[in-house]
Symmetry: D2
Subunit: 337 residues, 4 copies
């Protein structure tokens, strides 16, 4: 149930409404919009009656929150969520540009790439320290050592850090080094992990599972938000279809759909989405034209010798050119870098 309070309702009255809803056994979440408090009360249907609540002091109206995701919905929170990370306001008119290597491989590599992407205009450095690999025998990442390198490389060039957390036991460790906690596609429905990052105060980026519907994806965001952490962004990174020419099928349709259903920012990852170097720039341009709030792109100074995903990493100069093209397209859709 969504409870809208009258504009100008005193805090004491608002507080009383929330207490009464909580006493009915409901989870209560509040947001403010246009000078009006909006209270989501979630739980057993029928715990309180709509028409009774409407008679409470301060209450202007009630509505059903009909989507299965509540806190992630535009109905609860009409305005765009903006998440401040370093120099970047993710979800604002400023496009978020995240770039970096697939895996952190060493200091020289990380610093070289960080410098290049910072110069080109990126504000967030990406890089994996713990890598989820289909095979147990593939390179699993440098672990905490990698996180330290990533943090120092980012700091050296004024960048924020985004890196993946793979397990509920790792959340504390990641939160020490990374500004954004990334949930990988394979873990999109690892609910223990989602709950754990929901207890932190760090922004979370949830990659879409390979075969997840948009509704399931938003429900994963809801798992985080239900714990109190509302700084959630989504990341489209390609879905699994019958087509085998591309690694995955980057689903840009998800961009306008998510923007309508939810107030959360949506980032697009064309690197994993198509998985072929010379197709990444066209899809990155397309993502911005479709209205994405940002891009996350793999860039490597020496892709042929990368320890993972070399074939889908851009050369720094390719990234430069791409950023220039994006600058113009961004203006068409009311954005800027």
């Amino acid at each position: 149930m969504l409870v809208l309070l009258k504009a100008g309702t005193p805090e004491s009255v608002a507080s009383d409404v929330m207490t009464r809803l909580r006493m009915a056994g409901l989870a209560v979440h509040r947001t403010d919009h246009d000078g009006q408090a909006r209270i989501a009360a979630i739980g057993e249907p029928g715990a309180v009656k709509f028409d009774e609540v409407e008679k409470w002091p301060g209450v202007e109206a009630t509505q059903k929150l009909s989507r299965p995701f509540k806190l992630a919905s535009r109905a609860f929170h009409p305005q765009d969520t903006i998440i401040q990370v370093g120099r970047c306001s993710i979800g604002s008119e400023q496009l978020a540009l995240m770039a970096g290597p697939c895996s952190v491989e060493g200091e020289a590599q990380a610093f070289t790439i960080a410098e290049a992407v910072a110069k080109a205009g990126a504000t967030v450095l990406r890089g994996g320290a713990f890598k989820p690999r289909t095979s147990p025998y593939a390179f699993q990442g440098l672990g905490e050592e990698g996180l330290k390198i990533l943090r120092r490389a980012a700091d050296a060039f004024g960048l924020a850090v985004v890196s993946e957390v793979m397990d509920s036991q790792q959340v504390g460790l990641l939160a020490r080094y990374s500004d954004i906690l990334q949930i990988g596609a394979r873990n999109m429905q690892n609910y223990a992990l989602l709950r754990e990052v929901g207890h932190t105060d760090k922004p979370v980026m949830i990659k879409r599972g390979l075969s997840s519907t948009i509704e399931e994806w938003l429900l994963s965001a809801e798992h985080v938000m239900a714990q109190g952490n509302r700084q959630v962004m989504l990341c489209e990174r390609g879905i699994r279809t019958f087509e085998t020419y591309t690694r995955n099928t980057l689903d840009l349709n998800a961009v306008p759909v998510v923007k309508e259903l939810s107030h959360l920012p949506i980032i697009v990852d064309p690197s994993h989405g198509v998985g072929i170097r010379n197709k990444i720039a066209p899809m990155a341009r397309a993502a911005v034209a479709a209205g994405a709030d940002g891009l996350i792109i793999e860039v490597h100074n020496d892709p042929d010798h990368a320890l993972s995903d070399g074939a889908q990493s851009l050369y720094p100069t390719q990234f430069d050119e791409l950023v220039a093209q994006i600058r113009t397209i961004a203006e068409v859709v009311g954005r800027r870098l």
Copy 2:
């Protein structure tokens, strides 16, 4: 086998090479590129030996055409194919803008929409006269009467016509009224139909089947081209995935992939691709940013009362706005309207 002749080879010698290949039982197709004849000889592997052909007069080199599609491949025909239809050079730097109603419903409707889309900048009028409908009880189109209306409405506003042909027995009829013969997604592997349009001299637009791989799609183009008709363009219109929020999943990844594999123009149909009115403009912008050669968009003056596909048709004013946005994005990727 691809046989490259030396630059400046006399026609009599080129002709002799082609005759010898034909006498070996191979189908022979020729294109000229950079002053050099390129001859595709297709048939039984081993019918002629690569090293023997290389000794023939005029022959510079031979290559294997390794892809299953031969005439549709860039290996055979390196430069972009440009198809002239009315005022539009499809495949050139000029973006092809095709627009119109899903179905032709009557004279007033067709003329009103034709005028609106022509003013906005479209050069081709789309409209169905024979409609493939999942249910035998749904509106099946006006038939030949619809074609006549479509032709006259297009002529009145200087537009070319694209309309669907559903059966091999209908090809002659469609060819009388339509400038481009559209093969619908459901018929993408109707080989009798593909052969029949391959025998005409009309440009053909092949929509991608709902679950067709890019390779199968190019092989459908090959079915047409093998009959002698090389004026083939492709149209991406969404594939079937598990996602149910959108009608289909418009696969923009196909744009850069097709541009690399083939010289044929690729048009994008965001109307069928997403099937939700307010998602069409973002995906149309994205298609252009990804490098599409054109767009085909459903526009209706009164979508709420359309006999088919109303929910995915743009209002004429929405189409106007979209064209304005596309104009700027086109420049970023070296195109114009």
Copy 3:
């Protein structure tokens, strides 16, 4: 609308009801069940009112036919449809066993295989004379010559014939030689072809399109039945999924689903469904256990030299063993060979 007449309604009264429905502009189809006439009246909703029809003489009740497929639904026709083809009652407790080569390649091949499968217990000989091939350069079948061979081979061993018709212009030709007209998966939504076979009096077998939902498949059956031909059977032959280990994903779930939604027989084609020889017998057994009305299986005397689909054809002795296993499983589900 479904109109149920009272038991014992005189024919003149029943006929009058049908005439009145037709005069309202509706298409009228009748079936008899448990001594009661059931009339489907299909067309513009509201053409006649449910409560008015219920007052007509002879009418016991009316119901809405809520599924998009009407004649194919169990609501219209509660009992199983049984189609008599040669010695086989398809849809009865007798399992239909169809077997033979992918393509007819010559007289010796066809006769050898026909003899083998007839001995093993098959009642219908399968074999392609016109082959839909993804590539225009692959073997396209022997054409009419192949049909003649197939017919003679079948007659020699007391078998019926099933063969594919690929185009509306070919229907007459196929009908001369084949007892069952097969619509291939690629043509499942070739509506001109469906209409044309709907005008014949030959049983039709509709293969499920690679990415067709069960509802679309039943609507393709409806396209045939709406023309008057009610002898339609369905054939599950694998759908397209992300899994690449098998050629397709044979969807046996479709068997119990179709048996509930429709009265039409459903045949399973494990040969195309999995496409790997040693996986065919397990899936054929599973199909029978799931309740299929029959099987269609590729058998070849010399699979290694087959002109098409050799890798998925059984050796005659493998087919023998399979039939023996199926005999026992059939009994568990109330069937027999």
Copy 4:
């Protein structure tokens, strides 16, 4: 690399071979088959040379383990793996029959159902105590309390227990109560969890991810086995396709495919696979006919009031009937209950 030792090689020699391989930096795993030791040495390719190893004392031959999964492959371990759990030898000729409620809801429910399924012939009691739910607001299970009930109900009727572990931090807890640790479909690629169960000595059952290829699934088994725990079984529970009539598409093709590629037992879960009560028995019969090593089926004494998955739970009497049918089909494929 697979190293085959000569039959009769003394343990000291075998041990020396393994040490030398380990000293080359390889992970070493051994199995014995037909009196011969088979040693898998996994790691950096080229760490040791094939022809050199062949000269070592005791070595008969070396082979490349070409599949990405090594320990899970038939090449390493030719004979079927048999896992003893309670009275059931999973993977042997005895079919494993696992049944029980979706969630443990209370003592009365658990004991009633345990009694019913034990009587019918089941040997393993299934039941969720921690439930992965798409929505954070749905019933999450009774937790440890549920595990205690499950254990007592199983013990009361001589059954073993299978229950899901959702997080790496929960493994110890689950291992105290459950005989088989189930990895759910959403966690199939939760590698931290796979590693953790790999360190236990409990049998593990890995459900196939909704859109996982068979290869990825076997690689998840490999993640467990690489830690030393070889008691792994697989569970097919339906994949995600475009078809929406069934909840998922149970992929029985996976059964013969897995039996060929791997020595691990494969169980089929028709309850989640189709998700519609009256389609479960047909698919369960089909699974056995296709060669599955067992079934896991949801049974509930009062499905209409189940807290989760009621619509796909069998009534105990339906389960009885199903077991009777399966008994006969099992014999056809050389199995017994």
